[in-house]
């Protein structure tokens, strides 16, 4: 009721429902949700209940938080958005990987860039071994091959300590 009375005040505010893979439903204004290209296309096709099978409730809650904040973006609150972004990317690698997968699936370009930049910053000084662990990549080089690849840019492996931690 509350939402319908507010929409009558401000004219027509179209509402959409997003449904997470856990079955939870979130009702949001269309103007917020269309930051997401995937949903925008579904809205254009006339959908108002949008099932998101690849996004669980926890991730979707975070993403809605992001979209709501960024829908408020104006010239004057740049600093506030910046701080929000800074807080938003705190969290474990696993959380960020969940988010980045969802952002990629939903085509939210701003969020994609934010997360990729943040992950890049965090792995920038990591050792090769730590990066393999973080991304769960198994080393498919033979020791000889790896040695060869290393020798091609030896200088990049020298100088300074690399961070072995996984967080």
């Amino acid at each position: 009721m509350a939402s319908s009375s507010s929409s009558s005040k401000t004219g027509l505010k179209k509402m959409l429902t997003l449904k997470s893979s856990d079955g939870d439903e979130f009702e949001l204004e269309e103007s917020i949700v269309i930051q997401c290209q995937t949903i925008k296309h579904m809205v254009e096709d006339g959908f108002s209940l949008i099932p998101l099978q690849n996004v669980d409730t926890k991730t979707l809650t975070k993403i809605i938080e992001y979209m709501k904040k960024h829908a408020e973006k104006t010239e004057s609150n740049k600093e506030e958005i910046k701080n929000f972004n800074k807080e938003f990317v705190k969290g474990s690698f696993d959380d960020q990987f969940e988010l980045v997968s969802a952002a990629n699936y939903l085509h939210i370009n701003g969020l994609m860039d934010l997360l990729c930049q943040s992950i890049a910053d965090r792995i920038n000084n990591k050792s090769v071994r730590a990066v393999r662990e973080i991304f769960n990549i198994s080393n498919d080089y033979t020791p000889d091959e790896e040695e060869k690849v290393r020798d091609e840019h030896k200088w990049a492996h020298e100088g300074g300590e690399f961070d072995e931690s996984l967080d």
Partner: protein, 303 residues
């Protein structure tokens, strides 16, 4: 015995893929993340796995990476008596430290000039008629190679740059030759300019606010000449650093194949000595040949 077995089982366990693994991370996400990293880190991460190594060498990845690359300032200084020159890089965002670059010309060249960078590649040449023309990527530390081009006007030195998107060499407009540049010359970048204060120190100015943004300390710059450029690092010619066996480039058959290509340019691999010619077309396939000239140039530089 038991401890050993334990160790083994631990090892295999960590290799078994975890069901929640990110191996299924779409390639585009990995590509997007990696494109925000500096060149040095990417060269290191080539060792992570084969997929990453391949990705980091892909032309479209190199192009995306270059767009994300942050801008720094490349400074060429020269001592006025010795003509000894130094190339340094100053990254405004990281610190006020000026990094001296490994100069691709280790020996003395009295009249070496620099052409503004393009796609991360710097062109160094010796005036007036480029008896040494060098394309150099300071970020990947790709050593230099020398080029003379043969076209409808015969053999002549032309400045070329590598177009990342189209993967071809493009000619740069010619600089006026034979004209000596004045000492104390400075060039102005988009926002900043470089000047000397009364103590002879180089300072970086913000032209809009007229404030000193940074003092740059470069040893040999007290007297003499300096030029600055905007510079963004790139991975261009990353494959050019692959080691190539010497005999490969001397292989006549390989050379014949190269000269058969349609749009041909001759590349002189050395400055006259050991000159060997071959043609290079739309680069990608032939980048290994280029690296042969790198090896030769290295030998000369080392000798």
């Amino acid at each position: 015995m038991p401890p050993k077995r334990k160790e083994n089982s631990k090892k295999t366990k960590s290799r078994v893929p975890d069901p929640n693994s990110y191996l299924y991370f779409p390639r585009e996400i990995i590509s997007n993340i990696l494109s925000h990293l500096p060149v040095k880190t990417l060269l290191l991460f080539r060792c992570v796995c084969k997929q990453w190594r391949n990705l980091i060498s892909k032309p479209n990845f190199i192009a995306i990476h270059f767009r994300h690359s942050s801008s720094s300032i490349l400074i060429e200084t020269r001592h006025h008596e010795s003509s000894d020159h130094v190339l340094s890089l100053y990254n405004q965002h990281e610190s006020s430290v000026v990094d001296e670059l490994d100069n691709p010309f280790p020996c003395f060249f009295p009249r070496m000039y620099i052409v503004p960078p393009c796609n991360g590649i710097v062109c160094l040449f010796q005036a007036p008629w480029g008896d040494m023309i060098t394309l150099w990527n300071s970020a990947t530390r790709v050593p230099y190679w020398l080029a003379l081009i043969t076209d409808e006007f015969g053999m002549r030195p032309v400045f070329v740059y590598f177009d990342v998107g189209r993967k071809v060499f493009e000619k740069l407009p010619m600089l006026p030759t034979g004209e000596r540049r004045k000492q104390h010359q400075h060039r102005v970048t988009l926002e900043d300019c470089l000047a000397k204060d009364k103590n002879g120190e180089l300072v970086l100015f913000d032209r809009v606010t007229s404030s000193v943004k940074a003092k740059l300390s470069i040893d040999n710059a007290e007297k003499g000449y300096y030029v600055i450029f905007d510079y963004s690092e790139s991975l261009v010619m990353i494959d050019g650093t692959l080691p190539v066996k010497k005999q490969d480039a001397q292989d006549k058959l390989a050379r014949k194949n190269l000269t058969r290509r349609s749009w041909s340019q001759a590349v002189e691999t050395t400055s006259g000595r050991n000159a060997s010619y071959s043609s290079v077309d739309n680069i990608t396939g032939d980048i290994k040949f280029v690296s042969q000239s790198i090896l030769k140039a290295k030998q000369i530089a080392g000798s």
